[in-house]
Subunit: 408 residues, 2 copies
């Protein structure tokens, strides 16, 4: 049989299947209660809205939906997104441009392609989102972690790191951050820190990649805390990445990125050879969904549903997990992050937990430091039923207690 090994490119030889993929195989087995995947609640997708929209398309819309579109995106959707980002996020979009991407994931990939040369440094929160890090690594970046605190990334550490790198003649290509309800840690960056990051960006010419897939899924009644860094001004090089995956559904693969026209043009150019354009069908649909304000009804509903799931999971954590386990209590999004008791390994705990048919993601893939990573685990409450949360956290508590016993 033909052996492709001597044909693979250097970058593809370095690609490895992520550990999380291996874990997910267990997590998707029947009977397993899984808090592993960061997926929206499948029982509450707005499928009726989607169907109604499609059934009401005139010929012009149906042709747009089925034909090739422009690389930048469906023009009415670009306009609607601009308007919405101005109104809801306070982003001054006047001298900025947008390109629609195939999910937020593709936005991160294209930004990486356009900015990263092999061995370039990219700064990430520690811990950070696996998919983003995979894109940076696939473009052969070196990741440097900046510790995450309960009110967002350690901005002093960030600034010190930039200065330190500068002294050794290196300049990080960008800093990647998820300010709202971070994946995996579930923490939210304070307004004060957002301002500091904006200032650092301006002062040092540090490009900020601000990823905000969860920003609309806040649990308090007031969203004024969750304004993007991008909304602080356009004098600093901030790229804002949005996604339809959590505010409509992931199934259309739609995201977008906003920034100065100089870089957006380059991203669009890179996109041409990657997939030519994103789904026209999804874009025409997403535009109707925004324009008819169906999104706001859906988000009002989902904020309550996700908040209730989170509250139940926190309640069960308090009830069933030993006090030596610390946890974050997110103000939105999908995730709770656990700090395991001293000496406990997340990977060993996973092996024990999966026997009792409960799954999660170990911390390791989220960290640049595997030792630190192994002290954590991520729980997603977004796509579990109340019954699963109840039963699953109880079983997780038992597994943790058994693991504590075995360490004595």
């Amino acid at each position: 049989m033909f052996d492709y090994n001597e044909y693979f490119s250097l970058s593809s030889q370095k690609m490895k299947a992520s550990k999380i993929r291996e874990l997910m195989k267990f997590a998707s087995m029947p009977d397993v209660i899984s808090f592993a995947g960061g997926m929206p609640d499948p029982l509450n997708f707005p499928f009726e809205d989607v169907k109604n929209i499609i059934n009401n398309w005139d010929q012009k819309r149906s042709i747009f939906a089925m034909q090739y579109g422009s690389t930048e995106g469906y023009p009415p959707l670009l306009e609607t997104l601009k308007r919405r980002m101005k109104e809801k996020k306070g982003i001054n979009i006047d001298d900025q441009r947008i390109v629609v991407t195939t999910g937020g994931q593709q936005a991160l990939f294209l930004i990486s392609r356009v900015l990263i040369d092999p061995d370039d440094i990219v700064l990430v929160e520690e811990p950070s989102f696996i998919g983003a890090m995979a894109s940076f690594l696939a473009n052969l970046a070196k990741l440097v972690g900046i510790p995450l605190e309960r009110d967002g990334v350690d901005v002093d550490f960030l600034e010190k790191k930039i200065v330190e790198l500068k002294k050794s003649g290196k300049k990080p290509k960008f800093f990647y951050t998820i300010p709202n309800f971070q994946n995996p840690a579930g923490v939210t960056m304070s307004l004060e820190k957002r301002k500091k990051i904006y200032d650092i960006s301006k002062k040092y010419g540090l490009v900020i990649v601000e990823d905000d897939p969860y920003g609309d899924l806040y649990f308090k009644n007031d969203d004024s805390f969750y304004k993007p860094i991008k909304s602080l001004g356009n004098d600093a090089p901030v790229l804002y990445v949005g996604s339809f995956s959590k505010i409509l559904c992931p199934g259309f693969r739609l995201g977008w990125v906003v920034g100065d026209s100089q870089i957006i043009e380059k991203i669009a150019l890179a996109k041409q050879s990657v997939d030519a354009c994103s789904s026209s069908f999804g874009q025409v649909l997403a535009n109707d969904y925004l324009e008819k304000n169906l999104i706001d009804n859906y988000l009002s509903k989902m904020r309550i549903i996700y908040r209730e799931k989170k509250e139940l999971m926190i309640e069960k954590i308090k009830e069933f997990l030993p006090d030596s386990v610390k946890y974050t209590n997110p103000d939105g999004g999908f995730f709770i992050y656990l700090d395991l008791p001293e000496k406990m390994s997340g990977e060993k705990l996973f092996a024990r937990a999966i026997k009792s048919k409960v799954a999660f993601v170990t911390g390791e893939p989220f960290h640049t430091d595997p030792v630190e990573g192994d002290r954590h685990l991520r729980l997603s409450f977004s796509n579990s039923t109340n019954e699963e949360i109840n039963k699953g956290i109880k079983m997780l508590g038992e597994a943790i207690k058994e693991e504590i016993q075995s360490l004595k």
Copy 2:
């Protein structure tokens, strides 16, 4: 204002907007009759089928359609594609694997990523598809053109080139071919040449990337001429790329690639960081479309529609274009390729034609040799009405005649 120039990666600094994009701006102006874009007939998209499928989804299907899917693709669709490729294309799929991609374009991009290191040689037909070459170039390949003849690529030239490269210590990473109704040339590779290419692939370990977006759109009643190179066996390293863009619609951005599991696994791995998965909505829909055999009715209809458009365009070419213009007469697909009279420049002709509001694509972007390229132009008959073909070819004929006069 912030200047991204000192941040752009080397590969992105090399990216340039393709000339065709500039031309397309003219082509999409109102009142212009455009034979430029290679797009399906918008008036005959199977929108009613699509609507019916969606309206009949049960909860399970609607959830699959809206949720994240696996990177390899929606499992029922993978099975349906396997069955169809075996039955309709004669591809022995037993020890092969498939990954669903975001359009055929993404399949070409991922293959490039997985195989091409900077300065690697990729062999392409001369002329070849712009989007494919853009993917190869974006991954910093060097393109070497192999002349296309009226019965497909010059296989002797191909073999000589491989031997010549081998002598100088170089090995091409792959040969890219569109055997059926080639884009842009509209020619079809003979069965004899397909067999020779299969043998060359086996003999020299030459990876073949066989792109077949148009293979189902043949104009004769017999499809036995259009069997893929891939159907000749799995002893040679042939990657077969399929697309839903011309057999359903481009709007869902769905394609696929079939090959040995060793390379398909690598492609799926590369895809994880590019867009995680392709549209679930599109995939569930495409699976129903195939399974309910709606596709065969649609294809039967479209073969007649496209054949009639082609016949009309050929008739009008005979009527209105001077005899010094040579043209291909395709057995399927979307394109007719013209050889212009001696000394005539395609680019200059375009400038003249666009003034009379008729547009096409100049040959240059399809060629590795710009001088040869400028002697051609591509006409697409697929998305024009009869009236537009009638009027547009007449105007093109006038522009060519004026251009001939001006050269005297």
